[in-house]
Symmetry: C2
Subunit: 554 residues, 2 copies
């Protein structure tokens, strides 16, 4: 039985879910022994530990050197060395493998990719540890976002590719009447021609979640892929590449369809790969500066799919559950120390205060309820560490330390010490209260545990500021609280005009940061934060072209 047949039920359900966008997730987000097996947590951790302090073997063209310089954010140095890629060799191997891969019938490709996702799912605990130690995410998030949620996103991309490829017309005999003359009879066949080689550039914070959509979309559409992990978060993608190559080899396909190109912070290879003429597609997650650089490659016909940075905003107009709102925001602001691209940064509140279920409350009251909710949430150091995880790099650390002296500080950061190492691993968020005119501060992305509450004249004023920010700086998310239907309609219009998705009145367990595969689109591609959306038709359709072969049979 082919992999496609073996996974037919999952594929059919996924197609239906992608169409209806009703809740569906094939890979359980709960790190439970009942679901993943009694020994899964221990086996996963053991497997992770076994990888440390040794070479990670991948049989692909290499210079012979071994490199590796990963984060050790929980005090455990990874000490893993990866084969340094011979770039010309990798490109050539990728081209050769890609030519054959393009000719594999697309359902066969899709079967192989689903099988790989299922095997990755079985390694979710191991991947969870790899993600935790390289990104600083607490284990619960690292498991969830790095494992099943990333796998869901990968499957979503595969399914969207299945939909696009299924729409390519079948071969046909075309018959055009010619009046009294015999008809034109032409046999026509339509082939999807991949654009490849595709380059996937991973980020430090979400190495799998942000890479899987592009990786699996490119593979499903017949492109060979070179995976270039962030030099500080290699292992999660190395495991991914290993699993893909294993399944490819079992299917008697050249495993160089997927290769791993590791580099170090000191000796980066990204620029060489990005500007290589053999690269036809680039998926990138990272800084705006480098993302904008990558988008320049579009000028020579490279398809670029970027997720860069932005400034995410929350509008508070009124609320019928101010406590729920404050608690919901507190968790959104704190999760992974504010290091998600979807974390809110700016909260806009009218200077005259807001109507709530507690009656009218003043601006200062509103600020206090939010900052107190953050303090309460993170009061216990151990619990705080489970929510905040670790700061991913020295820049973020410095930013939050410096912010203590900022004007308008309404909530001071508190260092959280990892008891295992005795060192500070993160900080509870700083909050500063700013005026609407302080755009120099809140108009820039301040990545990390740092948020602003901005005093506006009124809600219309806030909407104006937000639309301008979204258009100029970009945004991945936008949240709003209002009990007034007219204000909600106006806020929706602002979201549509600005080109950012909107979450209204989140007061329970759903966070504005969260985007579920098969239902929520992640990013819109309509503002400067990202030129692509996970996953819409545009994310897939550009990865191949249609070449027609016709034979005159008149």
């Amino acid at each position: 039985m082919s992999f496609f047949e073996a996974h037919k039920k999952m594929i059919d359900e996924a197609i239906e879910a992608a169409r209806s966008r009703a809740f569906w997730s094939p890979f359980s987000e709960i790190p439970s022994r009942r679901i993943y097996g009694d020994s899964a947590p221990d086996d996963g951790e053991a497997a992770f530990l076994k990888l440390l302090n040794r070479p990670f073997e991948i049989d692909q063209p290499t210079t012979g050197e071994m490199v590796g310089d990963e984060n050790a954010l929980y005090g455990t140095p990874l000490g893993i060395q990866y084969p340094a890629p011979d770039i010309d060799g990798i490109i050539t191997a990728s081209q050769t493998a890609g030519t054959a891969w393009a000719n594999v019938p697309f359902k066969e490709r899709i079967g192989i990719l689903v099988e790989a996702l299922v095997r990755l799912n079985h390694r979710s605990f191991e991947i969870g540890h790899a993600v935790m130690h390289t990104t600083g995410q607490a284990f619960a998030m690292a498991f969830q976002a790095g494992g099943p949620h990333a796998q869901d996103r990968g499957l979503e991309a595969v399914i969207y590719a299945h939909e696009e490829l299924s729409r390519i017309p079948a071969p046909i005999t075309w018959e055009k009447p010619q009046g009294k003359r015999p008809p034109q009879i032409v046999h026509k066949a339509f082939h999807a021609r991949p654009k490849g080689i595709a380059l996937v550039i991973g980020c430090n914070t979400f190495p799998t979640w942000n890479s899987y959509p592009g990786l699996f979309a490119s593979l499903a559409t017949g492109n060979s892929v070179i995976v270039k992990p962030h030099p500080r978060a290699i292992l999660p993608l190395a495991i991914t590449v290993e699993v893909l190559r294993e399944v490819l080899a079992e299917a008697a396909i050249d495993p160089n369809v997927v290769t791993l190109a590791v580099d170090t912070t000191d000796s980066p290879i990204t620029e060489t790969l990005v500007s290589h003429p053999a690269i036809g597609i680039i998926d990138f997650t990272g800084s705006s500066a480098f993302g904008n650089r990558i988008e320049q490659e579009a000028c020579r016909g490279v398809r670029t799919y970027t997720e860069k940075s932005g400034v995410n905003n929350i509008l508070i107009d009124s609320s019928d559950d101010v406590k729920g709102m404050a608690n919901n925001l507190a968790l959104s602001l704190s999760l992974y120390s504010g290091q998600m691209c979807t974390t809110p940064q700016n909260i806009f509140i009218p200077e005259g205060g807001i109507q709530t279920d507690q009656g009218h409350i003043t601006f200062d009251d509103a600020v206090r309820q939010i900052t107190e909710a953050v303090s309460t949430l993170l009061a216990d150091d151990q619990r705080a560490m489970g929510i905040l995880g670790a700061i991913v790099n020295a820049d973020v650390r410095k930013r939050v330390e410096d912010s203590q002296n900022d004007p308008g500080v309404a909530l001071m950061a508190r260092p959280i010490v990892n008891p295992a190492t005795g060192k500070i691993c993160s900080y509870t968020p700083t909050c500063c209260v700013l005026e609407a005119s302080d755009t120099a501060v809140y108009g820039q992305e301040q990545f990390g545990p740092l948020f602003y509450i901005i005093r506006t004249r009124d809600t219309d004023h806030a909407l104006e500021l937000i639309e301008k920010l979204v258009r100029e700086k970009g945004a991945m998310t936008f949240g709003a609280y209002s009990t007034d239907e007219a204000i909600l309609r106006k806020t929706e219009a602002t979201a549509l005009q600005g080109g950012v998705s909107l979450s209204c009145n989140l007061t329970s367990s759903l966070m504005v940061n969260q985007a579920a595969a098969f239902s929520d689109f992640h990013g819109t591609g309509a503002n400067p934060a990202a030129n692509a959306s996970l996953t819409d038709a545009a994310f897939i359709a550009g990865r191949f072209n249609i070449v027609e072969i016709r034979h005159d049979n008149s």
Copy 2:
């Protein structure tokens, strides 16, 4: 009854045709009184003549000046003056109209566009004359390509937009189980947000056929459009804009959804429009130099769809109908004086000759059969003029005149005089025989009635040369003649590798130049001749983004 309901049958048939790509055309290509009405030819000509030597009224923001400097390729000066656009005014008007247009339900938009296409079809004779006089096409082609075939392509784009927009998920209440806690219940709605303003830049040779796909695709996906015709071929697009504005106004929609931005050769406005920050989409047909300039706008997130120039090739390996082949090529090479982007330029023949139904024939024999077929086809001046039409500009004229002195001339051009004007309007094609090493000549696009026959070592050699040309110079078409299945498979592989569509063994009435809407894809987007294909999903999907609005109802 809405326009959508009124045209439901045509729309349903079109959807089915786009899926199956079996023959279907709603707009008859035959300029017959029986089909278009007894008085249609005369009425159309009269309507055209009535437009001459007077202002063309369009009620849109203007500087107050009137401009116009169109071709008069059959001796009739058009003398039409158009309102010069006030560019800032047009942009503002387009933005205002676009905001409302985006909110019109997409089926309503599609109904309006189909109605406009039907009305344009009723004006096909008038448009045929406008296309003939501005492009130099003979009337039969001007009617067919400028009228019904362009309308078919416009409808195809509308239908592809219908398909893409239909795939956007309907609003849904998403319910995620939360174990023992109550489920997350979230209402989600998904909105298509147009990228607009869209700019459509027309070309001199096919002002409607090449502009309609982008124009109608952008309109259908909710973008307002500014149409910038070539300064020498304005009238066909002015009529198009007039019809669209008329239908929009009847539907009580701001007609500035479509505006016309006319300029002159001496005082061009294209660069100002292309680099304007309000432009989000550009469709362009024209030179590679300016097309490459336009693709630079992709770096700032503008979606560009370009058709530029290339070098089209024919491989001759063998034939079981050498006479049919020669006659077919003769017409392909001669139609509209070789001024189609799809006209073959280079014919590759092995030096050892070819196997045919006439037995083995030498290289020189093969050359002679092709050049004789051209001479025979165009022996009669009046018939020649009906096939060749008129040379579109002085550059092409100079190129063909200069080519008489080229080395290897195997067929001299013969001037064709338009009896109505007593002036040369075109030339029968020049043919030069070249060596494979003469890439400096045949490796460049030589637009106009000029083709090359290139001597190769063998068929493999020809395939190598062709693949290199396609990759480096681009190609819109590729034709091959062979009776050998293995050679045909190899040729197909070359076409796929190079990224160009292939037509095999055309010996009857189908020309390699021809691409039928709803069946043939025009261009692949996979080689430098064009970054887009008419019409695939990628041609539509980038014209809008999806913005999600979710409300927590937990």
